[in-house]
């Protein structure tokens, strides 16, 4: 009997011949990702009472949530993390300005096919876009992993989502995953490993694949994966310390078997897909953009770990170039990383967006979690490329967040109301 991706990776990491869903295994993760919450994790680690982290090379620490520090409290937290990094000899530390952890981790070579990555952030499944097994955990758990170097994991059932066809113009990975979440709902993949497959995936960029894996968390997935192919390898070679041959071998070895057992296989044809929008206040409240066209907006946001990459900024610039956003609308642009920002500057994308009226913010999470840089007042409406629109998330609990693709957000900023990017 064949195995799924998750079964193969967890069996190998647990040193077992094979594993079955429901089985609990103990593994030593290749990477532990933490961010601004590292100071809290370090405090928990000290509470455990061991002096040294189990493996300094396992740690990847990226400041992204509230950067630069918005006030003294955040500054104290950042300072504590910098001290922890120095004291423990952690090399993979990325201070403010490098970008969002889910962008910086792969850019700096810490993700690869079959790697096991746990992170104290719910969007850790993003790294499945590189063929890694990546799952989110809490702070205390991150502290325990810091102390022991290991974690228990339940082998998940697997949901396979096969995407046929080719995406129409101005329709992107974001629209695909919003539609899927709208159909499967917020708990549709609870505890599951999600495998994305099919020709639409093979044609998709690494950035698009990251969108799918990132948002699988919004339907409860433990991890999500796009099996690595030449697109993945092209992106990874030169970033990771592994050579192309090793990466290629792992990509082949950890591909799901054709006769693997799935909890469910779901097929879509994306050729006729319309742009999708998640309405307030849940991510699974999804409709085609045509149903919300005309909804007045106060703010538009392009960025976050979901859609802050170069192709996202380019999609927005294609719509806004030579034009200006509507009066009364605030457009916030946050590149996902320093690398993204530099590439966007080089290509003139930043100039196009800023000339069109965008406010450029530093690489980081920005207002996504409601801590700084663009929170909303009661009654205000934001259309955002982020992954969550929960009540109160972006500031006031009486504010409203719609989620959409970069093209839809850009078209809406231009119109001052939610707009269909195919009509611009």
């Amino acid at each position: 009997m064949g195995n799924t991706f998750a079964e193969k990776v967890l069996a190998r990491k647990a040193g077992l011949e094979s594993v079955v869903p429901g089985q609990i295994v103990t593994v030593r993760p290749d990477k532990l990702l933490t961010h601004d919450n590292t100071s809290a994790i370090a405090a928990k680690f000290r509470e455990i009472g061991v002096a040294k982290v189990a493996n300094p090379k396992m740690h990847v620490i990226v400041f992204d949530h509230v950067t630069p520090a918005a006030n003294e409290t955040y500054a104290i937290s950042h300072k504590a993390t910098r001290a922890f990094v120095a004291e423990q000899g952690i090399e993979a530390f990325y201070d403010i300005g490098e970008g969002i952890c889910h962008q910086v981790l792969p850019e700096k070579g810490h993700a690869w096919p079959s790697a096991v990555i746990v992170g104290s952030d719910s969007h850790t499944p993003t790294h499945g876009a590189f063929g890694a097994f990546a799952a989110g955990i809490g702070r205390t758990e991150a502290a325990a992993v810091t102390a022991t170097g290991s974690i228990w994991l339940r082998v998940p059932e697997t949901l396979r989502i096969v995407l046929h066809g080719a995406l129409p113009p101005r329709v992107s990975a974001k629209d695909v995953i919003l539609r899927i979440i709208g159909d499967l709902r917020a708990d549709g993949a609870d505890y599951c490993s999600v495998e994305f497959a099919g020709e639409a995936i093979r044609a998709m960029s690494v950035a698009g694949r990251m969108v799918l894996c990132n948002m699988a968390a919004e339907m409860g997935a433990k991890n999500a994966v796009v099996e690595a192919d030449e697109t993945t390898l092209d992106w990874l070679v030169g970033r990771t310390s592994w050579d192309a041959e090793t990466l290629r071998r792992w990509a082949a070895e950890f591909r799901a078997d054709p006769d693997a057992t799935y909890a469910r296989v779901i097929e879509y044809n994306v050729s006729d897909l319309a742009p999708q929008v998640a309405k307030p206040h849940t991510v699974d409240n999804v409709v085609p953009v045509t149903e919300v066209v005309g909804t007045k907006i106060d703010q538009a946001l392009i960025g976050t770990c979901t859609n802050g990459r170069l192709e996202d900024l380019e999609a927005a610039a294609d719509i806004l170039r030579g034009k200006h956003i509507a009066p009364g609308v605030r457009l916030l642009v946050l590149p996902a990383s320093r690398e993204t920002l530099l590439a966007a500057i080089e290509r003139g994308v930043i100039a196009d967006l800023v000339a069109a009226g965008a406010t450029l913010l530093n690489p980081g999470c920005g207002p996504c979690l409601g801590a700084h840089e663009g929170c909303m007042a009661p009654g205000e409406v934001t259309i955002s490329t982020a992954n969550r629109n929960f009540k109160g998330r972006m500031g006031s609990k009486e504010a409203f967040t719609y989620l959409a693709s970069p093209a839809t957000v850009a078209a809406s900023a231009l119109a001052g109301v939610i707009a269909d990017p195919r009509e611009v």
């Binding site: 989110g136 205390t140 758990e141 339940r154 708990d187 801590a371």
Partner: protein
């Protein structure tokens, strides 16, 4: 961990996310659990913080705790004295966070037969939840999970596993 818990119910619906259990704007500014407790369910049910009593039990629909990995969504409820959470299902990180904080967490359909203010009893030995109108069974925790709960959470469990003494 106690074998039985009886408490007054606060009943909520499906897909209650961690942003309404503990708002994101406080996640990096509040470090004291007592302060976290003051914001429990702030954007879901403002009456909760003022009226909750130690030992009360939250009963909810499916997918309780979806969204962020923020542990404060467990800590604020544990700190304010919530005795247990009973839901039709839990989001996986929330489930792990609750176990790691030794906050009893039970998966069953009790939400179907209880209202806010009524009492329910959880029996961990028998694996049952009894509401005024029905009794539900729930499967035992796997041994790995039970060991963490019995140790009083993941920190004491890890201390035992590594043979280090508690700093208390």
């Amino acid at each position: 961990m106690k074998n039985t818990i009886t408490g007054r119910v606060w009943k909520y619906g499906d897909d209650i996310n961690t942003d309404v259990i503990f708002p994101g704007k406080y996640t990096y500014s509040l470090t004291d659990p007592a302060e976290m407790a003051k914001h429990a369910l702030e954007d879901l049910d403002p009456a909760f913080v003022t009226n909750v009593r130690p030992g009360d039990i939250i009963v909810a629909g499916k997918n309780w705790g979806c969204g962020s990995s923020r542990e404060q969504a467990v800590v604020c409820l544990k700190e304010i004295g919530v005795g247990a959470i009973v839901a039709r299902s839990f989001a996986r990180i929330y489930f792990r966070n609750a176990i790691n904080y030794a906050l009893p967490i039970v998966t069953c359909d009790a939400v179907d037969s209880v209202e806010s203010g009524e009492e329910i009893t959880l029996d961990f030995t028998a694996g049952t939840v009894t509401t005024p109108r029905a009794t539900y069974t729930f499967p035992p925790f796997p041994p790995e999970v039970m060991a963490i709960l019995e140790a009083g959470g993941l920190i004491p469990y890890t201390q035992q596993a590594l043979g280090v003494k508690s700093k208390e």
